[in-house]
């Protein structure tokens, strides 16, 4: 029997999964992304380097700093801008906070689809601590439009370091409490342990990235392997698990959040206390005839941006290589032979965000 899950089903998240089932078991599965395709890459060809910023962050509004990061780094190289030191630290703090905000939202959805409604309420509430910080920092709860080529839009508000440290410390204390109620909960473990196992070889062969790759035992993180901005001055420890099942894939982002808290704390400590945060640009900056590829580690894995410039104020081509789309490839391999009831546990463990994959 063929079963269409989605595209307007909350369990699939604006994407259709065509599942062939035999009784209760999945025989084959064909993910069909593209329902929320908005043509972001084409739109970027008609706007200049600055007005591209508000719409390029739309694919992942919860992780809007990270999705802008490779674009901004690329444009900086194209235009030959040197970013001030303080701006680099502000960017690192903003992107780590954003990673946590995204992961908390994902964790809330993962909890509710496993039938754990407390795990929906807690992350959704604790996320507010970080959203409050981002609002103080950038002026918007989501879709910050904070990063620009040459730094960030505005300096930190007065007394921000203390508020940030206090709220991040409390946030870390809170997420540690999730261990008892969720991650060490025998009900969750029996649902997710040994479902959708992705071996180390398969994870590399299929080109997965981010937490999916790290959950399969590959120690790979762009922040560590190709440090951008000031990540080489900060200590980045990656969390690797060997199992490669849904449980490992759901646990790695949680451990990453604690690592993000450490990075924020050390960035706040090392940040220069004063200095400019933005380089003044000409009104319509033009790039030369050049191409550039930059990538960063987003909440969903490696996120790359390829920009081609032909000497005009608008880019000739902007191509985004996103982690969600690369992880989706693994879904048919993971679901084959699984029970239909395990589909949400496996599907959401891929850390997949449909809007980002469709762009």
């Amino acid at each position: 029997m063929t079963l269409n899950v989605g595209p307007q089903h909350p369990g699939s998240g604006h994407m259709r999964i065509i599942v062939q089932i035999d009784g209760d078991h999945i025989v084959a599965c064909d993910p069909d992304p593209g329902y929320v395709h908005r043509g972001e890459e084409k739109m970027a060809e008609y706007r200049n380097y600055i007005t591209n910023i508000p719409h390029l962050e739309r694919p992942v509004i919860h992780d809007s700093c990270n999705i802008l990061y490779p674009y901004v780094l690329g444009v900086e190289e194209l235009l030959g801008i040197e970013t001030p030191e303080r701006a680099k630290y502000v960017r690192v703090i903003a992107s780590e906070l954003n990673r946590c905000i995204y992961t908390m939202y994902w964790l809330a959805i993962y909890g509710i689809f496993l039938g754990h409604s407390t795990m929906f309420m807690w992350p959704a509430g604790d996320r507010e601590l970080l959203i409050d910080l981002m609002e103080k920092m950038t002026g918007a709860r989501v879709t910050h439009a904070h990063f620009v080529p040459g730094g960030v839009r505005n300096d930190l508000p007065p007394n921000f370091e203390d508020v940030c440290l206090r709220q991040v410390n409390y946030f870390e204390k809170r997420i540690k409490e999730y261990a008892d109620i969720f991650y060490d909960n025998p009900i969750l473990i029996s649902r997710t342990r040994d479902t959708g196992v992705l071996s180390r070889q398969d994870a590399i062969r299929l080109g997965t990235t981010g937490s999916v790759l790290r959950a399969s035992g590959v120690d790979y993180d762009v922040r560590k392997k190709e440090p951008y901005d000031v990540y080489d001055e900060l200590d980045v420890n990656t969390n690797v698990m060997k199992e490669g099942d849904s449980y490992a894939r759901s646990r790695v982002p949680w451990l990453d959040m604690m690592e993000s808290c450490n990075i924020i704390r050390s960035a706040l400590e090392k940040m220069p206390s004063s200095g400019s945060v933005r380089v003044k640009l000409k009104p319509n900056p033009k790039g030369g005839h050049d191409t550039v590829y930059k990538r960063v580690e987003s909440g969903r894995g490696s996120l790359g941006c390829y920009i081609v410039s032909d000497g005009k104020p608008e880019p000739y081509r902007v191509k985004m290589s996103v982690g969600s789309f690369r992880n989706l490839i693994a879904l048919p391999y993971l679901l084959k032979g699984e029970k239909l009831g395990n589909m949400p546990a496996v599907y959401w463990s891929l850390n997949y965000w449909p809007v980002e994959a469709d762009r």
Binding site: G125, Q167, D180, R278
Partner: protein, 165 residues
């Protein structure tokens, strides 16, 4: 046995929270506190001043009708249109000023970055809902009014947990 203790630990972790004060913000009764008076921009240094990106505020005695805010918005939301104003200002020969459609605005603040005359800022006003589409279009006269925003609650972190108070 391990399963039983695991479930009891999970329940216990939830029960502990019965004694904790609630974190929820009771929105219409209490409203969040912001830093500063809204997002502003200093054209001389090229750096913004942190604040909430809410409704705009237009200073009629600074606006020259140069349309730079409208041009900045063209590629983003097309929310800003230039309209004739009845009043005559010395620096505004054409007597045109921005009118903002909040049905289209995405609150990115690029228009504020574009203004070289300290004429356009953003304020803390975020309650902009209206019963009609026309009600969302703010004329230059409406934009000149500084809004009053009640701010009485921020996140407090104590030994017993975080609250809005």
């Amino acid at each position: 046995m391990k399963t039983a203790t695991g479930i009891i630990r999970a329940l216990n972790s939830g029960i502990k929270h019965l004694a904790v004060k609630r974190f929820t913000l009771r929105y219409p009764e209490e409203k969040l506190e912001f830093v500063g008076d809204g997002y502003q921009f200093d054209p001389s240094t090229g750096v913004g001043i942190a604040g909430l990106k809410g409704r705009h505020m237009l200073f009629h005695d600074h606006c020259t009708g140069c349309q730079l805010c409208s041009i900045a918005c063209e590629g983003v939301a097309e929310a800003i249109g230039m309209v004739k104003v009845p009043e005559e200002q010395k620096q505004n020969k054409k007597s045109i000023m921005p009118q903002i459609d909040y049905g289209k605005c995405v609150f990115c603040g690029l228009c504020v970055d574009a203004c070289p005359f300290y004429a356009l800022y953003m304020t803390n006003d975020y309650e902009l809902s209206s019963f009609s589409k026309e009600g969302l279009i703010y004329t230059p006269a409406q934009l000149a009014v500084k809004p009053y925003v009640r701010q009485d609650s921020s996140i407090q972190i104590t030994e017993r947990g975080a609250t809005h108070g």
